[in-house]
Amino acid sequence: MIPSWNVSRDTAPRRHVLAAGLLLAGIALGARAQAADKSADVDELPRIVITDPNRDLFRLGLPSAVGDADLAGQATEIERRDLDLVGLFNLLKPESFPDALNKEGLAFSADSWATVGAQGVGKLRATRASGGIVVEGRLYQVGRGDAPLLTKTYHGSELRPLVHAWANDVIAQFTGTPGVFGSRIAFAMTGRSAEVATLGMDGQEMQVVTQMKSPCLLPAFSPTGGQIAFNSFLRGGADLWVVSASGGRAHRISSKSGLNTGPAWFPGGSTLIATLSFEGNAELYKLSASDGKVLARLTNTPAIDSSASVSPGGDQIAFVSDRQGTPQIFLMPSSGGSARRLTFQGNYNQTPHFSPRKDVPMIAFTGRDERLNFDIFLYDLRTGKVDRVTQNQGSNFDPAWSPDGRLLVYASNRGGLFVMNLQTRREFHIYKAGAKNPSWGPPPAPSSR
């Protein structure tokens, strides 16, 4: 048979050719895909690292409250003072707010508030209703939409506690820990009267709680806030007294010969620690809070041991001793025993006070610097480092912690009492009349919504 050109009819070679073609095309496409994969592997964007952020306070706008005019005015004043005093915020000046923002009521326009530089906005409405007062609060954050982050309504008979409760909730919203507005600070008055008084932590509602008509010193709030232990010279000697925190007749619990001074409460409130010298030398003793009965002697040295503060767990005591020559801060177990010296800088360190926070064990104390100025210092029990809190602001004494461990209150020769936020180091002058030896009471009961 003669071979024919017409091979098209023979399909076998055509299949081979097609297969070869497809194979070649497949290789080509595969090579391209592989190259594309490699390209995808390296398709990462360039990065620029920004470090060294600046530090600033959160800018909070607090427009005037709305509602019943008289209540709204007071509510605005209380709210602004609270949220200024806590030292966490930079309150924007209300006069910088355009009319539109002042007329918003409880509503919120993030874009408008952004134009005045606000990062957050708090709004209040205070009205009278059914024999009481109703306070409604809204908290907004610029950049997180127009819906409120926090909406609260409070009912009560008095305006101030309701606004304090709102301020505490605002602080909780921002920091995770509620504020302690509503707590009170006890102190010894100086000047014409030298009684023990208490004061709201916002510096308002001062109340004299003793009528000793003799110098009173070193008041100490009990852990529950119901009582205040203090010293008085009413009967000539330095005796230990206890009075109800709401005022009334004080009763003497220790009047042994010599000193009966410097009371500090153990957690639970049934026992106290105080400096007594009835055995000849000033030592620290554990006493019953009800009758002053000596339960234990905690120190036994020829030096003067005084000014004790009990740790929040009740297991340690910080105190002042001059056993190594000059007054310094020492630490010992609450059952007594060997003491460890904490301070080595300066030759006059006194009035230690334990932070209430167990997770951040710190002791605040008064130290005298080389220029003979007294200032507030912090001792970090974890690191042993000392941090100076006040400087070039007169002389400052007797630090006491707020119950949340966020603030310190202290007396100053600038007059009265100051509060400082330890994180931002913002200071607020809460009380301008003569005062010393402040002691901060427990936090208020949680607010009811």
Partner: protein, 246 residues
């Protein structure tokens, strides 16, 4: 010619297999495709991604007097031998002529006076005027930046200036451990595109502060021509809460 021969030499197109032509064409096309895709169109080897390096130029300072610069100490010139002291036994001999006072070295004393004055001012608490380039940083780490990184430095300077973290809401210790990645772009004129958080720090206030820093900056210098596409395509800003300066 016999029939078989005629059959072999008949012209193409008549009785020729179309399948053969198609197969030939397919092979050629495939070969061309192979060469095209595998060699001609294969992407060039990709450049490894390189992070921008922010270069904080050191403040070199304004030129100083030569007096303060290191100098090669020249050996002192040999002095002329001092006149030998002649001792005479003659009690009536004339006294030796008094030596004239040496002229003060005008240059040295002037510079010394200036140095003393400066030291005196510093001792009194006066602060020296800041020296160096206006765009330099006191925390500078380098005297020159790599080309291309200078733009990253410009971006750093523009945005870092507007980056404020709330002191009261983030402690120093917390801040040092926070970092957020923000994806964004830069238009041809330097306008910043819309930022988008691609990796949160876990702290809302920190994340907000990063976004606010970008929005407050709004615009940076236009990207250099050779980087324009790159920055228009997008890049990552890593906000790191660490304090590195000083």
């Amino acid at each position: 010619m016999n029939a078989a021969t005629q059959n072999r030499i008949r012209p193409l197109g008549r009785g020729t297999s179309l399948g053969g032509i198609a197969a030939t064409l397919l092979i050629h096309v495939s070969l061309v495709a192979l060469i095209y895709f595998a060699h001609i169109k294969s992407p060039p080897p990709a450049e490894a991604p390189r992070d921008m390096i922010v270069t904080q130029l050191v403040a070199l300072g304004k030129p100083r007097d030569k007096f303060w610069l290191p100098r090669i100490v020249q050996p002192p010139r040999p002095k002329a031998p001092a006149p030998t002291l002649k001792v005479t036994d003659d009690a009536n001999a004339a006294p030796a002529p008094k030596e004239a006072p040496r002229p003060e070295d005008a240059d040295i004393s002037k510079e010394m006076r200036r140095a003393l004055k400066r030291a005196q001012l510093l001792a009194q608490g006066a602060e020296e005027a800041p020296e160096g380039s206006l765009t330099g940083s006191p925390a500078g780490t380098s005297t020159q930046g790599v080309s291309g990184d200078e733009y990253a430095t410009a971006i750093f300077n523009a945005i870092q200036r507007n980056w404020n973290t709330p002191t009261g809401l983030i402690t120093d210790a917390e801040l040092a451990g926070l970092s957020a990645d923000i994806r964004m772009s830069i238009r041809e004129d330097g306008t910043l595109g819309t930022p988008r958080i691609v990796k949160s720090s876990g702290n809302g206030y920190f994340d907000d502060s990063c976004i606010q820093a970008i929005k407050a900056t709004g615009r940076v210098p236009p990207p250099p021509a050779n980087e324009r596409t790159r920055f228009q395509h997008g890049f990552t800003l890593v906000f790191d809460g660490k304090k590195l300066a000083r």
